[in-house]
């Protein structure tokens, strides 16, 4: 891999979690804009894992749908048409064929639209591989990664901010978990939340998952197996109302909970909580 500039001003290779997606579009302007958004996760690969052709379409002028892209509709619909996945939201329509690893998308020229397509694509790819995208922050410390999940406001960004010197924030918003040779790894992602900056592009073995709660003192409580699965399922990102995918995501959550400790972390928002985390076996 060459981590320099993209091969063409009309294409861009994005590598997240070791999965390389090549985006091709007619708009150098859009590529340049996206390059900023995915800084730190760009490179050049000879054979990307997936290729996506992007067709940009103007924002609707408010007079109704523009040939299938209605930027006023917000709900994502993900469905399977034979082997083909179809993803539709107001601002984009995308299709992806996992057999050929090729897809195309029509979207308004918005970074948020592309960001969403990339995230949804990764949820589908990772589910098939035993991994997942999760609403969670993750931090690498001393060769181990810790993932922090919970409802909005539970403290995912806060606990990232509190991490000690020498720790690496992989993301404060969207954690990327892959199953590699029987072990789970947390990878950095460009998807940021309140922190407003992308994660560091590195990976570490996942040592634990914490369901966050704020409280009067720092403590860690064990979750039952079913509580652990519920905590994971509540925060795994997936959109398709598809029986097979649902079962796969469910199985992936069960497998993760069986191999990686999932606990509740109640914490006071100051740096001492990291002493507790760092002392975990």
């Amino acid at each position: 891999m060459n981590t320099g500039a993209a091969a063409s001003t009309r294409e861009m290779d994005i590598g997240i979690g070791g999965l390389w997606v090549r985006l091709r579009t007619d708009s150098p302007t859009f590529v340049a804009e996206m390059a900023g958004r995915f800084a730190g996760f760009l490179g050049e690969v000879a054979r990307p894992d997936h290729v996506f052709d992007i067709e940009l379409t103007p924002f609707p002028d408010g007079e109704g749908e523009d040939d299938g892209v209605d930027a006023h509709a917000d709900e994502v619909q993900v469905s399977r048409n034979g082997a083909l996945w179809q993803v539709r939201r107001g601002d984009f329509f995308a299709e992806w064929d996992p057999r050929t690893r090729h897809g195309h998308a029509r979207m308004v020229p918005s970074p948020y639209s592309l960001d969403s397509v990339i995230r949804i694509l990764h949820t589908l790819i990772l589910a098939e591989q035993g991994g997942m995208l999760m609403h969670a922050s993750s931090v690498a410390l001393d060769g181990r990664a810790w993932m922090f999940t919970g409802v909005s406001g539970a403290g995912k960004t806060t606990i990232s901010r509190l991490c000690p010197p020498g720790a690496h924030i992989l993301t404060d918003e969207m954690s990327f978990i892959r199953l590699e040779d029987g072990r789970y790894f947390a990878h950095g992602t460009p998807f940021s939340g309140e922190l407003g900056r992308p994660g560091e592009n590195l990976r570490e073995p996942l040592a634990g998952v914490f369901l966050l709660a704020k409280g009067p003192d720092n403590r860690i409580d064990v979750l039952s197996p079913t509580e652990a699965v519920r905590a994971l399922m509540a925060n795994i990102l997936y959109f398709a109302r598809d029986d097979a995918l649902t079962a796969r995501v469910f199985d992936n959550a069960i497998a993760l909970a069986a191999r990686v400790p999932v606990r509740r972390l109640t914490f006071v928002p100051d740096t001492r909580v990291w002493d507790l985390i760092g002392n975990q076996p």
Binding site: T226, M233, T246, A247, F250, D251, I254, A257
Partner: protein, 103 residues
Amino acid sequence: MSNPLYILREDNVAARRIGDELMIMSARDSALFSLNETAAILWAAADGATPLADIVARDICPVFEIDADSALHDAREVAEGLAKHGILRIATQPFAAGEGHDA
């Protein structure tokens, strides 16, 4: 005497045993359910062909040492609850072969 009832597992759910509990996830709305022991017995036996009363007599009464009428009353309530959540179907006739979920 009321009509016999038949129960059948829905086909758009995933059921997995985790530890001592049976968890069920609906593909329809991604809802997760943990079934208690009675509900898990009913789920496992819900083949669409065996009357609920027979399931109760065979699988529940011996386990819980409860009389058949009380057990059937409770089982109907449990089955209706599962049906409300879309993870089980109830009918007064046996379901056709091939319908529903293979446990």
